[in-house]
């Protein structure tokens, strides 16, 4: 379970963009902030809704449904209505491909 899964070529995600992928039975959101790639579970901790529908500004992703904010590097919840962090996945880049490890 703990291996890395190939998600997409790095070229598929642009700076400040957030995209959602299906990795086995998980939904993983991947974004690019200051040239680095970050991955997290594509689900707001407040309600089971996709964060990838929202916007990312700097390292903060905002859920478009109820306005919760999270830090994509740490997963930390930054404002109400969210009170719990989101799950962060480890990312690895190899040969211009993004790999994600499901915890």
């Amino acid at each position: 379970m703990s291996d890395f899964h190939k998600v997409a070529p790095t070229s598929e995600i642009e700076e400040g963009e957030i995209k959602s992928f299906i990795v086995e039975s998980e939904i993983v959101a991947v974004c690019k902030v200051d040239g680095e790639y970050y991955a997290f579970k594509d689900e707001c901790s407040h309600q089971t809704l996709p964060l990838s529908d929202g916007d990312i500004q700097g390292e903060i992703v905002t859920c478009c449904y109820h306005g919760a904010e999270f830090n994509v590097k740490t997963g930390e919840a930054l404002c109400l209505p969210a009170t719990d962090p989101i799950e962060i996945f480890e990312v690895k880049i190899e040969n211009d491909e993004i790999f994600v490890k499901l915890g």
Binding site: M1, I22, E24, S25, E26, I27, T48, P50, G103
Partner: protein, 445 residues
């Protein structure tokens, strides 16, 4: 050519004519009509999202955004030995084997039972028991407003058909083993079962789902139970599929006066599992007992959705759902008791208890009462907690080692739902699997 589906609802609509041509030599027009109606409903409904209240805690994107194709027959992978490996030991039964959703008569073993009892593949029954099938199939499992039932209705090919005529008792249980094999592409199977139990008749049916490999695929099951007056039935749903599989199942029970149903769902396998149980108590004096046990671990997601409809007076229903969650697992319990206007003197009780073994596991529970009648006694309760430290301390003070004490505690918790099983061998076999589950869980701590 394989019939393929992608993340677009249209692909499911477009595949249907080809599917009917390929898998039915001569499809009766009434069935073809139902299938066409069903896919129309599906195209209207699409896959549910967490914005649908009934799917609030379960995100189906891994299913709706995935690609699937109708499974090949995969029989070469299965033989007598592999069947013995999966089957429940020492269960004296009518054994029906389905591989990738298709009946395999060579591997099955249907014994002779009381006169007039019919146990066979549904596909066969479409011809041999045409009138009965036409009368009941799709009449209870409402495909008009449920996406998965509509998908199953459109794309089912086979399943089990059981008919127990008036006052007959099926001595041996009907055991249905569904095996999914190692496919190259992600496959979709839609088993469809129909069980008709006439007045004063009796039957037990065991549905068992397993996989030969750790594959991603979708099983979308629909089972309809039709109970006549004073009929007795027991149903088992044993979900032991690959930890990457998706399993959506719906058990729809239609009850007439004084009939009794006892249903057990044991969820151990699967990545995303949704188990729907929906009895309608449509006649005075019905009894409906529903038991559920779910043990998700790793990243498993198990969603129990139950709706009990009291449509007639003097009916009793009991629901007991217990869950143990470990690792990053997620459990959902959604139970609703609906008491309709005329259903006087309803007695309904619902309990959901949960144990969390890890801080990363999550449980969402929604026990609900919807009542339109004043003369009722309805209660529900839910608890969430962890193993009782004091009880463990007590056991330890009596010389029982810690691990053993923990095992005893968990076992007593799971036994609350297991002990109601009347089929001893099924219960034992489940107990053993659950013990293995505990061992694994303790070993990781």
């Amino acid at each position: 050519m394989a019939i393929e589906f992608n993340n677009k609802v249209e692909s499911y609509v477009n595949g249907l004519p080809e599917f009917q041509k390929t898998y039915f030599k001569e499809i009766p027009s009434w069935l073809s009509d139902i299938k066409n109606e069903a896919i129309k409903s599906f195209s209207k409904l699409g896959f549910p999202t967490p914005l649908d209240e009934d799917w609030r805690f379960t995100n189906l994107a891994p299913i709706s955004r995935n690609s699937f194709q109708i499974a090949s027959n995969g029989i070469s992978e299965v033989n007598k030995e592999s069947i013995d490996k999966f089957s429940i030991p020492s269960l004296d039964c009518h054994k029906l084997i389905f591989v990738n959703g298709r009946y395999v008569s060579d591997l099955s073993d249907i014994k002779s039972d009381a006169d007039g009892i019919v146990i066979k593949s549904l596909k066969e029954a479409l011809n041999s028991d045409k009138d009965l099938v036409e009368k009941h199939l799709g009449k209870y499992a409402e495909y008009k407003n449920d996406a998965f039932i509509s998908l199953n209705t459109a794309y089912f090919e086979d399943g089990v058909f059981v008919y127990v005529p008036k006052s007959k008792i099926a001595e041996k249980p009907v055991y249905v083993l569904n095996i999914s094999t190692n496919e190259e592409a992600q496959s979709l199977v839609n088993p469809r079962n129909l069980v008709i139990v006439e007045d004063n008749a009796e039957v037990k049916v065991v549905e068992h789902y397993v996989s030969t490999a750790q594959n991603v695929y979708l099983s979308n099951v629909v089972t309809e139970f039709v109970l006549g007056e004073n009929a007795n039935a027991e149903h088992y749903m044993l979900e032991l599929e690959s930890k990457k599989a998706f399993n959506i199942s719906t058990l729809r029970i239609q009850q007439k006066r004084s009939s009794n149903i006892k249903s057990h769902s044991i969820l151990l396998g699967g990545a995303i599992v949704r188990n729907n149980v929906h009895p309608v108590l449509n006649g005075e004096g019905c009894n409906s007992d529903i038991f559920g046990l779910y043990l998700p671990k790793d990243r498993q997601h198990m969603d129990n959705f139950m709706r009990v409809e009291h449509a007639s007076p003097h009916c009793d229903s009991r629901q007991f759902y217990n869950g143990i969650l470990d690792d990053k697992a997620r459990g959902v319990f959604h139970g609703r008791i609906v008491v309709h206007e005329g259903a006087m003197l309803t007695d309904a009780k619902q309990t959901n208890r949960n144990l969390l073994l890890s801080d990363t596991a999550q449980i969402d529970t929604k026990p609900q009462l919807e009542i339109y009648n004043y003369d009722v006694k309805c209660t529900h309760g839910a608890t969430i907690g962890q193993m009782d430290d004091e009880a463990i301390f007590y056991l330890k003070s009596r010389g029982i080692p810690n691990k053993e004490a923990r095992r005893i505690m968990l076992q007593s918790f799971t036994n609350e739902t297991l002990e109601s099983m009347s089929l001893e061998p099924v219960r034992e076999s489940m107990e053993n699997l659950i013990l293995e589950w505990f061992e694994e869980s303790f070993a990781n701590k």
